[in-house]
Each structure stands twice: as C-alpha cells, then as structure tokens.
C-alpha cells in the first residue's frame, strides 16, 4: 500500500516538473480551459438558447464533436491489432499511447454530452439503481454503458502496464493479454453503438441507412491513426521512446485502405439516394448541393471530400507516404476531413430538413465554440498529464528505487531537444 502511495506521490511530483516548453503548453491549456468553463457557466445561467440549436436542429456542434471523438477513441486502440500482427518493436509503447489517447478522448466525449444536455444537475438519473437507466431499450443508455466501460478498461490497462514497468517488472501476460484482446471488441462496440444511436431513428432517413455503422468504423480508422502518426513523431523526437519508421509507414498504408473503404461506402450511399431519387434524397442534397437556396454546409463538405481524397492519394503512393512532409500533410488533411464529415456533416443533415420539411440553417454560436475549445483543451490536458507520467516510465526514467518503495525521477524536463537527450544518463 505504501508503495502505491509513494508511486502516486511520485506521479504528482512528475507532472509539476518540466521544461519551459512543458510549462508553456500546460499554462496555455489551462487558460483555454478557463475560457471554456466561463462560457459554460454563461450557458448554464441562460439556458441552451445561447447555442445555435433550436427545435428543428436539436443537436449541433457538441454532439458532432462527441461523434467524431468516439471514433478517435476507438481507432487509437485498434492500432494494437497491426502492432501485434506485424510484431512492431515498441508494441507496449504503442498500446499505452493508444490507450491513453482513448482515455482522453473518452473524457472529452463525456464532457461534450454533459454540456449538451439541458439538465446536467439531473445526471444521476442515468445511474442504474439510483436513477433509471432505460437499458436495453434506449441506444443512448447503451452508449452510456459502453463508453464508461471503455474508459475504465483503457485506464486500467494503461495504468497496469505503467505500474509494472515502474516496478521494473514485466506485465503478467495472463492478465494483460486478455485485457488488450478485450479492448479490441470494446473499441469496435463503442463506435458501433454510437452509430446505432443515429441509425435506429426511422424518422431521420439520412441516418436510417444500414451503411452508417460500417462507414463510422472506416472513417474512424482514418482519423484516430492519423493523429497517432503525428504523435509518434513528436514523441520520438522529444523523448526517449523509439518508434520505428516502418511502423509509422504501415499505419499510413492502413489509413489509405480505410479511406478507400470509407469513400467506397459513401459512393454506394450517394448512388442509392441519387438514382432512386425519393424524398429521402433531400438531406443529401442539402449537404452536397444546397436545398432551396440553403447551402451553409456545402463548402464544408466539399472541403472534407477534397481533403479526404487528397490524403487517400498521398497515403496510397509509397513515395509520398514515406516522405515525412507529405505524410504529415496527409495526416492533417485526414483529421480535418473526417472531423467535418463525421461531425457536422453527419449530425446536421440528419435533422435538416426537419421531419415536417422545414429547412433550418444551423451554425454554432460563439458560446458553443468556446465551450468546445475548452473541452478540447481539457482532453489535451488530460493526455499531456498521462504522457508526462507514462513516457518516463516507458523509457526507464521514472522507476522504483532500490529500497523498493521510494520512486526515482530521472526525467525532470519531459519536452526537450533531441541533442539534450544524448547527454543524459539512461538506465537501459
């Protein structure tokens, strides 16, 4: 018990230590979080009227961000599969980084749902036994269950691996392997359930298409790994974690395939709607062409389409895939492309035109954007703190001392230049 307490104290010491760059990063995140919190207080005092949402478009920017982030959380963990299949060297590192990203993304998801609901003070109504969770009838109840399970699962795995490493022990494969294996279907399930949440609504033809869940998965497998590729590069540059080029390029190749599937499924949907040309075409027309002079979403969706196709080509051609400049451009394009397509591009056309044919143009207000910014900052803050502890553990710069109780902290900087790395003592 004492040992765990010392470990915990050690982590607290760690997160307060760092280079100037680390402090600057943390402080800017805290500022954004404070701004977001202030905007949220304003929303609480005035009601959701301060958002752009109304009865016609009853969900908006918050739920869009939520949907996108569920994908990021799912895909970060799914990277474990290729890591196993191709036997990439730093498999433990990839797993931990992915799982921690999943935890942070889940935190953001839960925050986005919280700021969206009208009565956050009644949140306890969702807790089974104390409140009433309408399970298994409501898909939202399913989502509450799987998202929270997923959050806990990933937290447990990541903390377990780190704690074992800190103690200079190998993780027990009898515990660790089944957990990792279980996290894979769990990742698929959070995304599927979230897709079904929309999918199950017969009132909304744009969502009520069976292709929705597969498309969700395909596009998630683009955005999550794109983020991981960029992260891998930062991490191996500024810390002692080594990640092979080969792993990064392989991830990029997998993104290309997923993007192909995503575009193919989109094509299938576009064909069906446009060729059959029923009244259910209206939402798609609104999204891609504009409807009766209303075309707010059109520039966004075409930007997304262009970005996705461009990134697909960049990742498909080996020369551009294995060039870090074009690779990173591709990652940014994909991240933005999927953010638009799986965010507002998915939520809004489900609601507009509304069930009685009214076209209501939704766009987020300043309050919504500030609150969302605050939540993104919170997610990055959580991720930074998790990495602040995990990275030194993985590189052997934070470990239990020879007395088996007191922690030893070698890494006091966290974010530092590569040449400074060489000069430092290194345990392995």
């Amino acid at each position: 018990m004492r040992k765990i307490w010392e470990f915990f104290k050690g982590t607290l010491v760690l997160v307060t230590k760092g280079s100037k760059a680390y402090y600057a990063w943390i402080v800017s995140l805290l500022v954004l979080m404070a701004i977001g919190a202030a905007a949220y207080v304003y929303q609480l005092q005035n009601g959701l009227i301060v958002t752009g949402m109304r009865d016609q478009a009853s969900w908006g920017f918050y739920i869009s961000n939520f949907t996108f982030l569920v994908g990021v959380a799912a895909a970060a963990v799914l990277l474990v599969i290729p890591a196993y299949v191709y036997k990439w060297k730093p498999i433990k590192e990839i797993a931990v980084l992915g799982e921690m990203l999943a935890v942070s993304a889940m935190v953001m998801c839960l925050l986005f749902v919280t700021v969206d609901i009208g009565r956050p003070d009644r949140f306890w109504h969702l807790i089974p036994k104390i409140g009433i969770l309408n399970f298994p009838q409501s898909l939202l109840a399913w989502d509450v269950v799987v998202l929270n399970t997923y959050l806990v699962l990933n937290l447990v795995i990541a903390v377990y691996i780190c704690y074992k490493n800190y103690n200079r022990e190998e993780p027990n494969p009898n515990f660790f392997n089944p957990m990792i294996l279980f996290s894979i279907p769990a990742a698929v399930s959070i995304h599927t359930v979230t897709a079904f949440l929309y999918n199950g609504l017969a009132a909304r033809p744009f969502w009520n298409a069976s292709i929705l869940a597969p498309r969700f998965l395909a596009s998630a497998f683009c955005s999550g790994p794109a983020f991981m590729i960029m992260l891998f590069q930062v991490i191996r540059k500024y810390t002692r974690v080594e990640i092979k080029d080969e792993a990064i390029f392989k991830v990029a190749e997998l993104i290309a395939y997923s993007m192909f599937i995503n575009l193919f499924l989109l094509g299938a949907e576009v064909f069906k709607e446009y060729y059959s040309h029923t009244i259910h075409l209206a939402p798609m027309e609104y999204l891609f062409q504009g409807l009766k002079g209303h075309s707010d979403l059109v520039p966004y969706i075409w930007t997304a389409m262009f970005f996705n196709v461009a990134a697909f080509i960049l990742f498909l051609v080996p020369q551009t895939r294995e060039n870090y400049v074009t690779l990173n451009i591709g990652c940014v394009l994909i991240f933005i492309g999927v953010y638009i397509e799986k965010g507002l591009g998915l939520v809004i056309p489900g609601l507009v035109p509304d069930v009685l044919g009214e076209i209501f143009e939704y766009s987020p207000t300043g309050t919504e954007i500030l609150v969302s910014l605050g939540i993104w900052a919170t997610g990055l803050f959580v991720y930074t703190l998790l990495l602040r502890v995990a990275v030194p553990i993985l590189t052997g710069e934070f470990y239990v001392g020879d007395d088996g109780v007191k922690p030893v902290i070698v890494d006091t900087e966290f974010i530092r230049k590569a040449d400074a790395l060489a000069a430092q003592s290194y345990r392995d």
Partner: protein, 308 residues
C-alpha cells in the same frame, strides 16, 4: 442558498446522497437562480420518477409544486395528478376539408397549456400545402402569413403529437422520463427529463419541443388549472409536448380539448376510441381516414380525413 454540509473530519465519510448534494450545490448554484428556495430545492433535486412515487410522496410533491407555482404567479394554482379513466383510449380526428389554416387552435393551445410566450413554443404546427401536390411535407410552408386565409390553391394540415401507439420517443429516452399512459397519451415527467433531446430526434412529427430558455409566461395569462403530466409550468432545459389537454379530459370525462373547442369550422374531433358511440369512432367508420407517415409503423391515434 442551501448550506453545504459541515466540513469537519467526516468529510471523507460522506454518504452517496451527501456527495450528490455537494455536486448539486455547485450545479444548483449555477442552474437555479432562486436564492431562497433551500429545502424545496433539495426535495425537487431528489424527487423520484413520477411512476415510482408512492401516494404520500406524490401528495408531498404536488403540495410543493402548488406552493411554488402559487407563489411565483400570485394566484392559487392547482396541480392535479388525475389517473387515466378506465376503458378510455383517446383518439383524435382532423378534417382537412374544413381546416382553413387560421391557427386559432395553435394559440388556443398556448393559452390552455401554459406554453412559454417568449420564446414562443407551439405544440400545434399548421402547415400550408399545395392542392396539386397533396400531403407532400417537402413542399409544406409553416410560416405562411397572408392577410386572409384560406388562400387559393392551398389546403392546411395542422400537426401536433400524434399520440403514437408505438411511440419512438418513448423507446429512445435513456431515463424513462417519457412514456405512454394507459389512456394512450404520451406524457413527460418534467422533473425527471434530463434534456438530452434524443426523443426530439426520434419523433417523426416534430411534436416535441425544448425549453431552450426559462419560460416567459406572464402571471396574468397563466392557466391555474394544471396537471402534473400536462400543462403545469415547465422548468428550463426539458422537453414538452401535446397531451390532449390531459388536465381537461381526465378531470371531466367527455370534455373536449382546447383546440377542439376553439376551432371555428369544427374541423377537430375528439373522443374515446373504445366507445362505439363516440364521435371519433363515427368518423373512422364513415369517412376515409389516413394517418401521417404510416410507413414508420408508429400507429398514430390521430386520424386525418376529408369529410366533404
């Protein structure tokens, strides 16, 4: 403001309820502007779902609400919780050949049911349709505003909650804050709804409305004859909908809803579907009726028909 529990050495032995209170104190301070409410704030906060309240608990809740509303509106407000009448299943008929699109029903409804005037919430939405296109919602116009109705070439279709026999709104609610009563009316417990708006996405008829802001309801216009599941004043951040004037029809068997009474051309019919002698049964048996969006299998108890 409620006092947060004393902060002595027992802080770590807080029971779950106390912890909830702590959370609530923070949120409550932000959400609830009334500073004097204290005890009743906690009672409201911990109130159970309507369907789980025992008789005495329900009486306490109603007493609390009546006191709160009477204070706020400066008149004696009655909150009833009249249960469904046995052997009654309400149904509604709307004669499209008579409706002239005057929207008296929509405004009569607002007065009867205490909707917010600012921002305005309307449970009845009257659509203007083109005669040559028939019931084509893509061509519907909600904001028609000519000097005189009806306009040539158009007909009018009011849409409100269709009181579905298989209501998708009920299925999706994550906390069972909305349900179908035995007399076929779908209701919302405004004290249990968390305001997630999933039901609004699920309803195929645009019948559910959200309180985006604190309701603007002038005391002089407030109707003090209310029902817990119906027209009592709604808090901010919850969903509301048409309840077939539950406060009228349950309290006085055979009484019409406000929209039926106010319609100047008699386009609206209402009655008990289980009573073979009722007006609504006559309509169903003698006119050709149709229901809206029948392909969705929601089975509305709201029948449109053309009498002439």
């Amino acid at each position: 403001m409620p006092k947060p529990g004393s902060r002595d050495g027992q802080a770590f032995r807080m029971s779950r309820r106390k912890m909830m209170k702590g959370v609530a104190a923070v949120l409550g301070a932000l959400v609830l502007p009334e500073k004097d409410a204290s005890a009743s704030v906690w009672e409201a906060f911990f109130q159970k779902n309507f369907r789980e309240l025992s008789r005495p608990e329900l009486e306490k809740v109603i007493a609390r609400l009546e006191k709160e509303y009477s204070g706020r509106f400066g008149k004696a407000v009655k909150v009833r919780a009249t249960p469904p009448i046995e052997g009654v299943l309400y149904g509604y008929g709307l004669d499209l050949s008579r409706c002239i699109g005057c929207r008296r029903c929509a405004y009569g409804c607002i007065q009867e049911n205490n909707q917010s005037r600012d921002p305005q919430i309307q449970w009845i939405q009257v659509l203007q349709l083109n005669k040559e296109r028939g019931v084509d919602l893509e061509e519907a116009e909600l904001y028609y505003n000519p000097a005189k109705v009806p306009e040539k070439g158009h007909f009018y279709m009011p849409v409100q909650c269709q009181q579905c026999e298989r209501p998708p709104c009920v299925k999706v609610c994550p906390v069972q804050a909305t349900w179908k009563e035995r007399d076929g009316i779908t209701v919302v417990d405004y004290n249990w709804c968390i305001g997630c708006r999933y039901c609004m996405a699920a309803c195929p008829y645009g019948a559910r409305h959200f309180n985006w802001k604190k309701a603007g309801l002038p005391a002089a216009e407030m109707n003090p004859e209310t029902h817990y599941l119906g027209n009592r004043p709604r808090p901010v951040g919850v969903v509301e909908k048409c309840t077939f004037c539950i406060q009228r029809v349950r309290n006085t068997p055979g009484r019409y809803t406000a929209c039926v009474e106010v319609c100047p051309v008699g386009a609206r019919k209402f009655g008990n579907l289980l009573d073979p002698e009722s007006e609504i049964r006559y309509v169903i048996e003698n006119k050709r009726v149709f229901i809206l969006k029948e392909d969705l299998n929601t089975r509305p108890k709201f029948y449109y028909f053309y009498a002439t």
